[in-house]
């Protein structure tokens, strides 16, 4: 009977929709999922509404796979609703877990984004200077929009989360592993990340040797050797500090790991670990030599926090000034150490 089946809900907040597709990447096993679960909410694929979920009893949904970051009031409302209605809430994919690409908005602020999108971008045609308003009165009544936040948050910064499934998007084998674990009742301890506890290098088949990076190359600048570690060849690869589980898909096709599976088990700040690992293999013994190498790595924060800025220790850029004039803090004169005291 349908009532006996566990209830599954899927929701997307601030995300691209790739996680929804990745659920379907389990291919024909989706039929097993559909047979095993009663899908009660899945806006991407099925016609249920928010009010249908709101009408359920608290804790009635057995498992909710929640993807997407939290970047406005509506995302947060749905996160709270799904938390209340679900026994097990899974942060599904990098956005819900770490903020991912939507989280890169934390490098700037709402004011700056609105200015660019509605006024300053070269392709904007907005002579009347119209901006979205939270409340607009039209003849038919008042229309509302959710409030757009200044800072993107992860799911677990808004509501308690039971399990995490990393990846952008998660690989189907781990989605299945999670679903099977839930079905069999053999659940890992709450708060666990469902995946591996080694790095992408352990899954990568390329040959590694001792690293001395003299120059970083961007992917278009060189054609990498097929079997040698990309980092050895000077291509940025986050695999050294990224959780395994994807099967090293990107390095297999000559593209350095982007780091979407997030930091490895026990790591607090993935970006800081990546700085640690990457900087130690830079070739150079003086500040000048080191700077010359690092000069070839543009946008380091973008590389290191590409998927994890909202979940990093610092969470966002600290901005001084506003409305497009943001800068890092200014200092008039830096006192220098007396050269006599240096040797």
């Amino acid at each position: 009977m349908a009532e006996q089946k566990p209830k599954l809900a899927l929701y997307w907040a601030s995300s691209c929709g790739g996680c929804e597709i990745s659920v379907l990447a389990v291919h024909e096993k989706i039929l097993d999922v559909a047979a095993a679960f009663d899908i009660v909410f899945w806006p991407c694929a099925m016609d249920f509404k928010e009010e249908d979920v709101a009408a359920m009893d608290d804790g009635e949904v057995d498992v909710c796979l929640f993807n997407g970051a939290i970047r406005n009031d509506d995302n947060a409302h749905m996160a709270h609703l799904m938390r209340r209605k679900s026994k097990v809430l899974v942060a599904y994919g990098s956005c819900a877990m770490e903020g991912c690409i939507p989280g890169l908005a934390n490098f700037t602020d709402r004011e700056h984004m609105m200015n660019f999108i509605y006024h300053d971008s070269p392709s904007t045609d907005n002579p009347e200077g119209i901006e979205p308003q939270m409340r607009t009165t039209v003849p038919e009544g008042e229309l509302t929009l959710p409030e757009f936040w200044n800072t993107v948050k992860t799911l677990d910064q808004v509501v308690p989360v039971d399990y995490y499934l990393p990846g952008c998007p998660p690989e189907a084998k781990w989605t299945l592993a999670a679903i099977e674990a839930i079905l069999s009742g053999q659940l890992p301890p709450p708060g666990s990340v469902i995946g591996m506890d080694v790095t992408v290098c352990d899954e990568c088949s390329r040959t590694r040797s001792e690293k001395h990076i003299k120059q970083f190359y961007r992917p278009y600048e060189i054609i990498p050797e097929p079997d040698i570690c990309l980092l050895d060849q000077g291509l940025f690869c986050a695999g050294i500090a990224t959780r395994a589980g994807c099967g090293a898909l990107c390095p297999q096709v000559n593209m350095g790991c982007r780091g979407c599976y997030g930091p490895n088990e026990g790591v607090v700040d993935g970006g800081a670990k990546l700085i640690s690992a990457l900087a130690s293999v830079v070739d150079g013994a003086t500040p000048e030599e080191i700077d010359a190498v690092l000069e070839t790595l543009p946008d380091p924060a973008g590389y290191f926090y590409r998927f994890s800025l909202p979940h990093s220790l610092l969470r966002r850029t600290h901005l001084v000034g506003s409305n497009g004039t943001r800068t890092v803090e200014k200092i008039t004169a830096t006192p220098q150490l007396d050269p006599k005291l240096k040797d």
Partner: protein, 163 residues
């Protein structure tokens, strides 16, 4: 030693600067000891922590210090070529260079995070470095990371949504 930090920056109303010092066991920590036993004066802004080598320095320590309320982080180790473990200080040099570049993008002035060398006999180098860094931080003003960057104010309506 009394300091009026308002002179450098009026934002120092509430408190004095806080600098976390991560000092190498084999040299700079002993330089700090020497400065103390020699009664060298320096501003009481440094909270020093001993690490076995600057090569042990995980950038996470620095980032966490800034997040938890430090206004600056001073890392001190053995002079290049004199590392107790051969090359730990070279690793620190590279990591700090990359970390400073990253922190600039996150809105942290690079001078808030500094690396310097002092051998066990260089108590004066240690005190001068603390004085210089204190002045730098005093000019920059308080960082107060969680108050300024965490931005909880945006959730004024969240309590109502929670129900």
């Amino acid at each position: 030693m009394a300091h009026d930090y308002n002179e450098f920056n009026p934002a120092w109303e509430e408190r004095t600067p806080v600098i976390i010092g991560l000092l190498c066991n084999w040299c700079s920590y002993r330089a700090a000891d020497l400065a103390g036993t020699s009664r060298f004066g320096y501003p009481a802004t440094l909270r020093d922590l001993r690490i076995m080598c600057t090569g042990r320095l995980d950038p996470t320590f620095v980032v966490k210090a800034l997040r938890e309320g430090a206004d600056g982080v001073l890392v001190m180790g053995c002079h290049p070529g004199q590392c107790h473990y051969d090359a730990g200080n070279y690793k620190a040099m590279r990591r700090m260079a990359l970390l400073r570049r990253t922190l600039v993008q996150l809105g942290v002035h690079p001078d808030r995070v500094q690396l310097a060398w002092a051998s066990a006999s260089q108590g004066t180098v240690f005190t001068e470095m603390v004085k210089n860094m204190t002045e730098t931080i005093a000019r920059l003003g308080p960082l107060n990371w969680q108050d300024t960057a965490f931005d909880e104010s945006q959730h004024k309506e969240m309590e109502a949504i929670r129900g």
